[in-house]
């Protein structure tokens, strides 16, 4: 909370972050291939509203509909934690039993105006029309509670939560809870069973793997969207060289989605910054390959990639190639970035050389082979001579 160097006495203490199952950035807790969703659920007489947030990627989604629809979404997204109003515990239990880890919060948080205000304030918009969720009463209430919960758990940095999208029932094939389970799309029913996703998932980036899970539980029902995907798969299928090249460049890109989230919340470390650079470098050839494609759908994808040239150059000129994980031990920034830094480096490193030179010079002059330059807090630097050689000490030296 305070810098230890600038404070006298005991530094201020306080809670800086509350880590919960649904809210974490920790790589050791997060599964690279799985989204870690916090879900929020709200019920009223007619419908249920639900919101899903993956804090590690900034993905924020909402939906509303029948209880069956919400149950199906839960089945597909498998949230790590579910928050709900204290008033709705029985409804949730009725719907899911004790399948999910839940956290009940105060009823007033699940209020219509409260939720709406939370969302427009966070996104800094006048309404929610731009997100296509204006008027989605139950969904807005559920989503607003998510933002409240973030604040309550001291997650004040939410710069990566840039939008909220609507999971549109009309766009996807209706698969109920039982069917998802019975067809073993993402989870096997029995130990040792193999779900469909294991056969289909040959993705090489963690975000690809996470997206594929969504594709599997949300098959499309718009013919044009299906045909677009098939056309693109077909393009890769027909062009072995393109397929191989794309995958070669995708590999080093890694989890750029979670990296940029860490940037947004100021939790990125120098080594991860190096990975971000690597990702940016390899994104460019992907864009170029897609641009050259004969398929208009792939070209469209290419257009959506921003090469981020300026940022890439900035990282390249600033960050050393081989950096430590921690940001408070130096050795991060390249020479030539900052004049004061350069000068200090010269002193710090050449200063030590200079002391060694003095020591050698005095050894030769006095003929004391064991002469040393030592340091302590009271005297600063001094010359140290052992008792056996005290006769050889020159007169001008001060004892």
């Amino acid at each position: 909370m305070e810098d230890t160097k600038s404070v006298k006495g005991i530094v201020k203490r306080g809670v800086t972050e509350l880590v919960t199952q649904g809210l974490t950035f920790n790589d050791n807790v997060l599964d690279r291939k799985t989204n870690n969703y916090l879900a929020s659920i709200f019920f009223d007489d007619q419908k249920a509203g639900v919101a899903f947030l993956d804090l590690s990627t900034g993905e924020f989604m909402t939906a509303q509909g029948s209880k069956e629809y919400v149950a199906k979404l839960f089945q597909g997204f498998n949230p790590a934690e579910v928050i709900l109003s204290k008033a709705h515990r029985t409804e949730l239990e009725h719907l899911f039993g004790d399948e999910y880890l839940t956290h009940a919060i105060d009823e007033w948080v699940y209020g219509s105006t409260f939720g709406y205000e939370k969302l427009v304030n966070h996104f800094n918009t006048n309404s929610l029309k731009g997100f296509g969720i204006e008027g989605m009463h139950q969904a807005i209430i559920a989503a607003g509670a998510v933002l409240h919960y973030l604040e309550e758990t001291e997650h004040k940095e939410m710069g990566h939560i840039l939008s909220i999208s609507r999971i549109d029932e009309e766009k996807y094939v209706w698969l109920d809870k039982f069917t998802i389970r019975n067809l073993e799309l993402v989870y096997a029913q029995h130990d040792g069973g193999v779900p469909l996703i294991d056969i289909l998932d040959e993705t090489i980036t963690p975000m690809g793997s996470r997206l594929l899970k969504k594709w599997v539980v949300l098959p499309l029902k718009e013919i044009s969207a299906i045909q677009d995907r098939l056309a693109m798969v077909s393009a890769f299928f027909d062009d072995q060289e393109l397929l191989e090249q794309i995958r070669t460049y995708l590999k080093p890109i890694g989890d750029v989605e979670r990296l940029i989230s860490k940037v947004a919340v100021g939790r990125i470390n120098p080594r991860e910054m190096g990975q971000l650079k690597k990702a940016l470098i390899n994104t460019i050839p992907v864009k170029e390959l897609l641009e050259q494609s004969k398929i208009s759908e792939l070209k469209k994808l290419a257009d959506q990639i921003n090469p981020c040239d300026f940022l890439l150059e900035k990282i390249d000129t600033t960050l050393k190639d081989d950096v430590p994980i921690v940001s408070n031990q130096g050795n991060i920034i390249k020479d030539g970035v900052d004049t004061e830094l350069d000068e200090l480096r010269k002193i710090a490193f050449s200063g030590k050389d200079y002391l060694v030179q003095i020591q050698q010079r005095e050894v030769e002059r006095t003929g004391i082979p064991s002469l040393k330059i030592a340091y302590n807090k009271v005297f600063g630097y001094y010359l140290e001579v052992s008792n056996a050689h005290k006769d050889k000490v020159p007169e001008e030296w001060i004892r």
């Binding site: 209706w174 040959e202 098959p219 798969v233 940029i260 990639i305 940001s327 130096g330």
Partner: protein, 364 residues
């Protein structure tokens, strides 16, 4: 001075580097929108290329997805099971055709273990994979868009949750029947299994009828069952077709051919399995008797009536049919006129019959 500089240089270095790094992070933070967008595109490209790769590796074919209403799969395979087959044992592919006009409901009969469930699931998986944008495990697939997929399995074991399995089965089935749409694909696997045979057959029968006769929608349905009584549905309902998963009997063994063929199945081999399991001979023989009776009367299409006509067990029949002196009693009864007979006379006649029968049983 110089001394101090050296001393502080390293501390200062760390502070300056920390500051510079944070300003780099701040620079990068201006690109959150763009890089999030990039990540989305890259994830998409990753998924698409993954689909292409598995399509090559597993010999999938590009499905033809259209606005039509027919599902036409040639040589379809189960994407998961085919990958788990032992080496040298090929997965047996199957054709499935469903549409709204001629073949809306398929009743699949065949013994347990014959692969009915796998066939149902593979059909759903092929449809869903296609609509995810993936190629599919088949030789050819022309697929009319599907907007809802329902699967139900009879009496799935949910005992751990303490629910009545049959209640669960029925609740789930009810939710299907209440949520149908014109482009729904319904897979029912042994629905009705969770209760007595009469109840089971009746429920299964009426569900299929309901789906076929639905006023608004022609829901494409695969119905796997071992009640081959359901095969008679085809006689009344034009868009219901019978198929069976074939089995060959080789001596004492049953060979699963796993091939879907048109037509109902002859018998379900359940009795055969019972025999192999060491069931007492008496039970097996009696079971066969009942089975033959049912099959003999196949022309009758009213199942419940047919089941009522199932002959009672042998020892009861012998009393009236096989006994040679049965006619004597019958003649006596035929001669009576209930309207004119007095109560005392009736009692006397009854005694007469009783004497004949006692005589019969002691003499035989």
């Amino acid at each position: 001075m110089y001394e101090e500089k050296i001393l502080n240089a390293e501390d200062k270095l760390v502070v300056i580097e920390y500051r510079l790094f944070n300003s780099l992070v701040a620079n990068a933070a201006e690109y959150v929108t763009q890089i999030q967008q990039n990540a989305k595109v890259l994830a998409t490209v990753d998924c698409l290329s993954s689909f292409a790769l598995i399509a090559k590796r597993n010999e999938y074919v590009e499905p033809q997805v259209n606005e039509g209403t027919a599902l036409d799969i040639k040589d379809g395979r189960h994407p998961v099971i085919e990958r788990q087959m032992p080496v040298g044992e090929p997965y047996v592919p199957n054709d499935v055709f469903l549409d709204n006009d001629s073949q809306q409901v398929i009743i699949i009969t065949g013994p347990n273990m014959a692969g009915k469930s796998a066939l149902l699931r593979q059909t759903a998986l092929i449809v869903l994979m296609a609509q995810m944008g993936s190629f599919v495990p088949a030789k050819k697939a022309s697929l009319g868009l599907v907007d809802k997929v329902f699967t139900r399995v009879g009496a799935s074991d949910n005992l751990s949750k303490g629910e009545s399995t049959f209640m669960v089965e029925m609740t789930e089935t009810a939710s299907i029947l209440n949520n149908l749409s014109d482009r729904s694909l319904v897979l029912m696997d042994e629905i009705g299994r969770g209760t007595s045979t009469y109840d089971g057959v009746s429920i299964a029968w009426s569900i299929v009828e309901f789906i076929h006769n639905h006023l608004d929608f022609r829901v494409k349905t695969l119905f796997a069952t071992h009640y081959h009584e359901l095969n008679q549905l085809t006689e009344d309902f034009p868009r219901i077709k019978n198929f069976n998963v074939s089995v060959k009997e080789v001596g004492e063994k049953i060979l699963f051919m796993r091939k879907l063929k048109e037509g109902g199945s002859e018998h379900s081999f359940g009795i055969h399995v019972a025999q192999l399991a060491g069931m007492p001979n008496k039970v097996v023989i009696r079971a066969n008797e009942i089975l033959h009776f049912l099959e003999k009367n196949k022309h009758k299409n009213d199942t419940s009536k047919k089941l009522k006509e199932v002959p009672k067990a042998n020892y009861q029949m012998s009393l009236f049919e096989a006994d040679p002196r049965y006619k004597e009693v019958q003649a006596l009864i035929d001669a009576l006129d209930i309207n004119t007979i007095s109560p005392v006379e009736a009692l006397l006649k009854l005694n007469e019959i009783k004497t004949i029968l006692t005589k019969v049983s002691t003499s035989s």
